[in-house]
Amino acid sequence: MLKIQNLHASVSGEDGGADILKGVTLDAPAGEVHVIMGPNGSGKSTLSHVIAGREDYTVTSGTVTFDGEDLLGLAPEERAAKGIFLSFQNPMEIPGVATMNFIRTALNAQKKARGEGEISAADFLKAIRGKAKLVGLSDEKLKRPFNVGFSGGEKKRMEMLQMATFEPRFCIMDETDSGLDIDALKMVGEVVNALRDGSRGFLVITHYQRLLEHIRPDRVHVLAGGRIVKSGGPELAAELEASGYDQFIEAA
């Protein structure tokens, strides 16, 4: 599904400086949940933004393919239409943008790009009401401008609402669990598990073992200094939580 090969990336611009990603290689096949852990500043968010197509970063070498197709030449919205979804570490507040209208416009834009029919206003309303209940966002919250005045946890719920609504083929979750309470973690697990039908892939960035009790990962990778320095099974996450990242900071 998602294949990353020797990916190097730096900040765009004249004085972009040294690479932040220094040769990331990762293979996340359909049906699997891959976890990325790693110290602050190691490049986890950069990796997720580069996969999603943020123009602030320049890929200096390497490839990213999705079902064998090159992703790096595509605009962010084209990647979204192919089914790449990023749950942002710090979701935006966008004053003046009506939440429901935006989510429906985005969903229909994706469908249109895929050559599918639009969802009707009534069907959309029914679908989003159900998902909103699942992620724990009230009707009142949906009526507000997008994320305006939301707590950190509510913004993460809004990310999960969109993930549940778009049903993307590949979900990148950048510290979705940070700042969430125990019940919300369980909800995130439910959203992921409902989408886990063998055809989708997941890249879950986290610092904590806790979320992984709800989402059983297949592989765990440690990203340090812009490289994947260790990969292993689910037991690696527990090991890391016990021993910390110190060993890898040296290595990087």
Binding site: A75, G96, F166
Partner: protein, 406 residues
Amino acid sequence: MSVYQKIADDLVERFRPAAESLPANDEKRAAFARFSKVGPPHRRVEGWRWSDLPAALRAANGAASSGRSAAFDQIGAPSVNIVNGRIADAQAAAALGVVEVDEWDDTLDPCDWRDRFSGLVDLNTAAAVRQIRVEMIDGAAGAVWLRHIFDSREDVFVSIAMRVGNCATLNVIETFEGRAPFVSHAAIARTGKNASIARTMLQSTEQSVVLHSSFGAIIGVGGAFEQSSVSLGGRFARHETVPWLVDEDARVRIDSVALVDRDRHADFTSHVAHDEARAITRQRHKGVVDGNGRAVFQGKFLVGRSAQKTDAEMQANALLLSDRAQANHKPELEIYADDVQCAHGSTSGALDDDALFYLRQRGLDEGAARALLIEAFVGELIGDMDAAARPAAAELVGEWLRERTA
């Protein structure tokens, strides 16, 4: 003779034939004399630094108008067509009901608050052929849409006097469309006690228009003045708003939106004079500028010695969509009372890259994402507009956005 004196003299001579072609009238003569002496605005005149009227007039021409603004079809209020400053459908005007709209021979003169207006109001007084009168009787409430259509190879002078009786409410929508080499619009409203006037101004004239409009309102005790406007600019378009709160407990809301692209210029200038206690004034301006456009905002709050407990806020925000786009903001507070709350703020910047990426990650293409953010930027002000004019205002914004991405 200085270069600016020459510019001023040229302006006077440009307008002299229009003023002198009218039947002799002392007031008009006096007004033209005042205009000649102190009136012609050029860039050395206070308040005209960023708006170069003489240059715009030199480039102005007599091309014919190419059409109407379709967005205005959505306005839901009884209309009176005013073509080149004259009521074109007297029957419609006569059938309005509580609002009376007609024409008479009178001149507009702000008299004792003249110095808050630009000299162009004197020119308007001198050159307007007739005056349009809008009258709302005591205790009545109603709406009227003054649809100004310009289709002239000559300069056009529109003069309007409004009167709103005690405890009356006038909802007036003024729209501007078409073109003329120069359009001068001047209106003065006088209100009684506890009267309110809500004005919506939508300007969607042709690219080549040179337009100056000014609206003055005297607000009595317990009165309210609300104004919302959308201007698409022109070769030159300046809108002046001059409310005078002569008594206690007045409430004012002034919202202005400017959307300018290409070589267009939009100027919103206001002067709110608070004379007596406990007025509440809220002013918001949003300018969106693309291409070589320029949006000027000049807002002044004058708070007199007796205007204790005045509560006044002004906010101006500009969104710059290109490297050459310009926004000039000049907020000004002149306060003589000691127990007041006055504040102003001003920002200008580009579209937020983080927000753009977020929207695109969700599937919107770049054009749609930009349009959504621009709409959001002006959306609050459009949302607070009078319901009869809101769909037309939203359509103006939509048209502007579509034209840019087309």
